[in-house]
Symmetry: C2
Subunit: 337 residues, 2 copies
Amino acid sequence: MKRPTIADIARRAGVSKGAVSYALNGQPGVSEATRKRIIAIAQEIGFNANSAARALSGARARAVGLTLCRPARILGIEPWFMGLISGFEAELGAQSYALTLQVVATPEQEVEVYRRWWGERRIDGVIVTDIRENDVRIPVLQELQLPAVVIGGPGDTGSIAQIWSDDAGAITEAVRYLVALGHDRIARVSGVPDLLHTQVRTKAFDDICASLGLHNTITVPADYTGEEGSRATRRLLIGGDRPSAIIYDNDVMAVAGLAVAQEMGLSVPGDLSIVAWDDSPLCSLVHPPLTALSRDISAYGAQAARELLNAIDGKRVGNVEAGRVHLTPRGSTAPPR
Amino acid sequence: MKRPTIADIARRAGVSKGAVSYALNGQPGVSEATRKRIIAIAQEIGFNANSAARALSGARARAVGLTLCRPARILGIEPWFMGLISGFEAELGAQSYALTLQVVATPEQEVEVYRRWWGERRIDGVIVTDIRENDVRIPVLQELQLPAVVIGGPGDTGSIAQIWSDDAGAITEAVRYLVALGHDRIARVSGVPDLLHTQVRTKAFDDICASLGLHNTITVPADYTGEEGSRATRRLLIGGDRPSAIIYDNDVMAVAGLAVAQEMGLSVPGDLSIVAWDDSPLCSLVHPPLTALSRDISAYGAQAARELLNAIDGKRVGNVEAGRVHLTPRGSTAPPR
DNA sequence: CTACATCACTGAACCGGGTAAGTGGGTGGA
DNA sequence: TCCACCCACTTACCCGGTTCAGTGATGTAG
């Protein structure tokens, strides 16, 4: 009925609770026979060490934190975060770390949550996403000496580890592919411009377009929602010199863009080619299925979790590039008519 | 540098740590002047009570758990879970409860996670989703006396609180609407048949169809993924007596179904009407936008969190019906040609 | 003027693990 | 034979809050 403690085990085994602690943690100080007996008793009565007591005596909380700072309607529909979370879990679960989640509205609130969590010793480290230029969270993490890994970049995060994928290389590949198909009026609908990875992508897009001698290129900023994706697409398509291909910074906006094109009577890919960034089941769900820049988001998350656990263990962690992004051609891209 | 404790505050205020505890928790036993002084010091040095110490001395862990038992690729794309999580957060955050998440593969693993979390005193209660008939988790929750609320139903959950929405009423409304438009060959692509709410919906669908005298009705089971949605739709559309309308148990399958229809050269809604269950931005993103059964998922989650907090406080919680489901007509439904 | 209640606090025990220091018995080497 | 040393434990204290049983000072009623 009452949840068992090591004292219960000690009593049943006829030893002190110190011995039980040594036995259960694989420490030296007990004989193999006693250890086995103690472990058997623990199993039998379904013992689980009280995490609070453990955390209190200097050990770890065995939990890491993640804050999500996007409106719920984007969090829900974008596969990105859930993919990431699944990846974390795979790694954290194996080490029996728990994941603590908080949805917030602003980066300032994220800072507050970090302070609170760390002050309460609720977590041993945090995973930081959606990093911005001069992100307010970085100095706080350093001040608190709170172990962390940043997903995204590369950018300036001081001593904090970073996991990033080669966004610049990916967008370069996408543009080259479209150019090879014969496109020369390529537009891009980007994510939130404040985010560091948006900036990296925009710069790489401008660079490759310039170096290939493309002039009618444009990046329209949006916010990852379908509504903004539609609006941006409409703006691009009603203009005089309408693009023959659009690259979107997420799958949701790409799907919205496809719907706008269809609504306007344009054929995809005949009149307009579409490339989505971050492939997801959504991309192969629609008709025509969308050509996309794919990466293994779960693996990305797993790697981030691994690095965070290293950082928590005091190991120095530097910048790590996660698995490659590659282009998955599908029905939404073709030579322009 | 070192995170401050109540002992630090006590020293600075020149009182005992007992007094500090009383002051910070609004307990009687200190004068207003002293209380204010202590609170000011706590603020100044950025004090946060160590959650482990608090949990250890009999109090709450101030955290609730949620396990998700679906493949990552569904979790990611379906807005449902993230909407629910946002709803939880709104309520939990206000009471400064944390949400601990675990993604698992089977209901048996969920049981294990519950046992471990509860044994470790990591959580004060759990939110249970995707309830099945004779769900293995129910007896365990009762055995452990772990506070819980079940989302979904209504079904037999013994003494455990339930939050449910009127799925039967909703599907009845959808069928009546389609019949009013002139449809008489209505099909349904359902979610995983083991889940309780799928069974509730299937029974309600069969009942209303029978009572309206519809005979060419069929429910094809699927698993919420786009692939299965496509497959089920294809099966329905190539048959001899093809349906003029299909109701899908989630948005993802509905979008997949739309793509299949388009791919087969059928016009939506001309040749086929489509109704999605659980409205989401995804439904208004595609072309034509999908008629859907809408409910406020976040509010649903918030209510569940509220009930769970009540259950944790030892208040008796019964079955609660969450906000209504209503039909949102959009471009994907029309009278059959 | 005493008896008693109330207030504002203090001191110490307690929660359940982790762990440094201590203890007694057995073994080995000189 | 004696000492040193190791093994297998036990003892006791620590972590940082909460809480209960005092305690001295003050107020109040009889």
